[in-house]
């Protein structure tokens, strides 16, 4: 591959409500057995991008733990491999990453010391499969300066938290609006870009000079008439998990057979860190309906239209409906959980009820001592 990869995983969003207290969005558990960043990382390795930098900032402990060994994505290489860049104080910089462009600019050495001609920039919160080589081919064929990977949102979906793209019949982007109040098109940017490495260095040096920090605002929008910026519309599933609603919806999408088959069975695979958990166990009293269950779970109760992440214990006589139970949660006997996201490493007391009402998803965070129940 002629490109290096950069994954922007520093982000946090208040749209994630309490879920982001604990970790960066890219480290959010997804689809039972994965983390958000697994999708971008697997796409990188499946596209033969062999040198990838992950830029982290916000609450990166959970993410760093996940990335502590790069072998799960086949990045354990002598040449290239996985680099994790957290902001550091240097002789000429004492700032945190002040924006996406600033995050990359603070690591310009990584770009300067590479020899691959192109850079693939992706975000750590997209759930999708994409061969970046196809984007690169498109980029070369169009003689583009920057290619933005876009996708069309379905009618009725809320576009207002994305960058809205308008392209001409040649796919050249003529208008780019970041999170506009009035939406003019449903073609949105997925936050995946392909750009020549030298051009990226040049543009970022300019940003540093002018004290600008945001890749979308200060590069894409600012240069949209001066540089040839193209839109590559991707096919297949794409979703972003940066709000509670979209996080819930994305997870629940995996209860659909076609989406499961696309991600779990179709080549290429999505990789993740291996946890050495035993197979899921169903004791007498377990009733399962339309649910996903990960390894290490023990079920004694009723689970319906829900996703149990790794190592969840469901006690006797419990009912779990339309809910997402994150990793390592212990649910005491006779508990009722409906329309909830239960935060990881939780212990839910027996005989309690948690229901998200009026279409709202309730986030359950309880810090009970597991062994005193």
């Amino acid at each position: 591959m002629r490109a290096i990869g950069i994954i922007l995983a520093g982000g946090n969003s208040n749209r994630m409500r309490e879920l982001s207290n604990k970790r960066a969005i890219a480290a959010m558990p997804v689809a039972g057995s994965y983390r958000g960043i697994d999708f971008a990382l697997s796409n990188m390795t499946n596209s033969h991008v062999q040198k990838v930098a992950v830029l982290t900032q916000y609450n990166s402990r959970s993410l760093n733990e996940h990335l502590s060994s790069s072998k799960w994505w086949d990045f354990g290489r002598k040449q290239g491999g996985l680099f994790v860049f957290t902001p550091t104080i240097t002789a000429d910089n004492g700032f945190w990453y002040r924006g996406t462009a600033d995050a990359i600019a603070q690591n310009l050495t990584f770009l300067r010391n590479s020899h691959e001609p192109y850079v693939v920039i992706a975000s750590g919160d997209g759930i999708y499969k994409l061969d970046y080589n196809k984007v690169l081919e498109f980029h070369i064929e169009k003689q583009a300066d920057i290619t933005v990977v876009t996708t069309e949102l379905e009618e009725g979906e809320d576009c207002s938290r994305f960058g809205i793209v308008t392209a001409d019949e040649n796919d050249r982007i003529v208008d780019f609006q970041e999170k506009p109040l009035v939406v003019s098109s449903n073609l949105i940017s997925t936050g995946i870009y392909v750009i020549r490495r030298r051009l990226l260095i040049e543009l970022l040096e300019k940003c540093v000079e002018e004290d600008r920090h945001d890749f979308v605002k200060d590069v894409l929008i600012r240069y949209k008439d001066m540089k040839k910026i193209y839109s590559y519309e991707m096919e297949g599933y794409w979703n972003n998990i940066a709000s509670v609603e979209s996080y819930y919806k994305t997870n629940m999408d995996f209860l659909k057979k076609d989406i499961r088959d696309y991600f779990f069975k179709k080549y290429p695979d999505v990789y993740s860190k291996i946890d050495d958990l035993p197979p899921a166990k169903y004791n007498p009293g377990s009733v399962m309906k339309n649910s996903l269950v990960s390894s290490g779970c023990i079920v004694n109760g009723v689970v319906e239209n829900s996703i149990l992440f790794k190592k969840v214990y469901v006690g006797n006589n419990c009912t779990i409906k339309n809910s997402i139970i994150l990793n390592d949660v212990h649910i005491g006997d006779n508990t009722h959980i409906e329309n909830c996201i239960v935060e990881s490493r939780n212990t839910i007391r027996p005989n309690t009820t948690h229901i998200g009402e009026n279409g709202e998803i309730k986030i359950v965070i309880e810090k009970n001592d597991r062994y005193s129940l």
Binding site: A31, G32, S33, Y34, K71, F254, L255, R260, F263, F264, D269, V270, Y271, S272, I274, D276, P278, P279, A280, K281, Y282, N283, P284, S286, V287, M288, K289, N290, S291, L292, V293, S294, S295, G296, I298, I307, L308, F309
Partner: protein, 424 residues
């Protein structure tokens, strides 16, 4: 300088012919166990959990699955700069080329491998038991007794002791006598086939007996050292230890895992068992499915009913199918409305629609009455069962079968269809 206190040699070359068609194309240590694992995962995990980071795995019979499973040892953290796991197949020498003719002969042919690590002690292991054991405790015992050889032993009920090799010891646990399958056992301490040798003692004994045909630890090396007056001790292990050498014991020990609190608990944080997982996604249990008293591996999709069973990773159980008291291994598909009773179905099989497995009277298997017993239906790796057939008890199937193989759509109890693999 390279120096390892103790290295392990894991004997994984045997076919395990009492497992019938399950081992027709893979070695016994590579047979799946418990919905996710392979038998060899237990000794390998015990090694790394005991701090033994250098393991030679001796392979011979059908090693491909073992080789791909072990790879460079990543799942067990045995990918090391110095040491780690090495696969040791028999190889050609300038003067002769010889298969491994016995357990000790296999070790003898790899003297150079052991010498390279300059060990004090060598741990000899088999690849056919399910157990969790801290070999370091056994080594402590070995050192405390200034032993030359220590055998791991386990107390068994005295009425069953005649099935094992038993040892008779003095109060200090020094072994006085060995009895191989004694009709009238005088002790209930059975040898587990696990030994710690002082490296020098092992090396000398292997060289001394290098001309012994089919040189075996239990039959030749240990008696030889014992007669010579070496200090041979018995270490008593008191945990779960299960031989999975026969189809019945294999089936039983799988079934024990689904007890509410199993005696052999895989869910404990302590002493984890590691394995190579190439299937990561969660399992899906459909709207009309039933899962009761079972364990199920990653990526499996259940549309039918599963009772009292151990289901591996990447399995599909079709709508309306009913699986009872069975073991179904990785990647197998069970067709819609098919009923599976007390069966062992190996990896990547395809069972068609509307079949019934494990029906009728129990009749001894005609060809192998000692192997296919207890009413089990055993189906070897990669087998295909066509739609609409009925299969009786104590039966075995291996290979792609078509309706023509089933007279009037039935395989009678006690019959076999063997079309593929080494076990015939």
């Amino acid at each position: 300088m390279i120096k390892k206190e103790m290295i392990a040699m894991l004997l994984a070359g045997g076919q395990g012919s009492r497992l019938g068609v399950l081992t027709s194309s893979i070695a016994k240590p590579a047979v799946s166990f418990g919905g996710k694992y392979r038998i060899i995962d237990f000794p390998l995990s015990n090694c790394i959990n005991s701090g033994v980071d250098t393991v030679g795995v001796l392979t011979q019979y059908q090693p491909l699955r073992l080789n791909t499973h072990i790879g460079i040892g990543i799942p067990w953290d045995l990918d090391r700069n110095i040491g780690g796991v090495s696969i040791l197949p028999p190889y050609e020498k300038s003067t002769n080329a010889e298969w491994y003719t016995g357990t000790a002969n296999a070790i003898y042919q790899n003297l150079k491998y052991m010498e390279y690590y300059n060990p004090e002690y060598v741990l000899i292991l088999g690849g056919d038991h399910i157990y969790k054991m801290d070999y370091e405790l056994m080594l402590d015992f070995h050192k405390a007794n200034k032993a030359d050889i220590t055998l791991a032993t386990i107390p068994v009920p005295i009425e069953e002791a005649s099935r094992f090799g038993v040892v008779i010891t003095d109060e200090e646990k020094r072994i006085l006598e060995f009895e191989e399958k004694p009709p009238q056992p005088r002790s209930n301490l059975a040898s587990m086939g696990i030994y710690i040798f002082n490296w020098r003692v092992l090396k000398q004994a292997l060289i001394d007996l290098s001309n012994q045909p089919g040189c075996d630890f239990g039959k030749h090396i240990i008696p030889y050292c014992h007669e010579r007056g070496d200090r041979v001790f018995a270490y008593e292990y008191n945990g779960y230890w299960k031989d999975v050498g026969t189809l019945t014991s294999y089936w039983e020990s799988n079934m024990e895992l689904i007890d509410i609190v199993p005696e052999f608990n895989l869910y404990e944080e302590f002493w984890k068992i590691y394995t190579k997982s190439d299937v990561i996604p969660p399992q899906y249990i459909a709207e009309n499915a039933v899962v009761e008293r079972c364990i199920i591996g990653e990526g499996t999709e259940i549309y039918g009913q599963v009772y009292n069973s151990v289901i591996g990773a990447g399995v599909t159980i079709g709508e309306g199918a009913v699986v009872r008291d069975s073991i179904i291994m990785k990647g197998t598909q069970i067709g819609e409305r098919t009923v599976v009773n007390k069966s062992i179905i190996a990896e990547n099989c395809f069972v068609g629609f509307d079949c019934e497995l494990g029906i009728g009277e129990e009749v001894p298997n005609v060809k192998f009455p000692k192997i296919y017993t207890d009413g089990l239906v055993t189906i070897g790796e990669g087998s295909v069962i066509p739609n609409n057939v009925k299969i009786g008890k104590n039966t075995a199937i291996s290979g792609g079968t078509t309706l023509d193989d089933y007279p009037s759509g039935l395989l009678k109890s006690g019959e076999s269809i063997i079309k593929a693999g080494d076990f015939r």
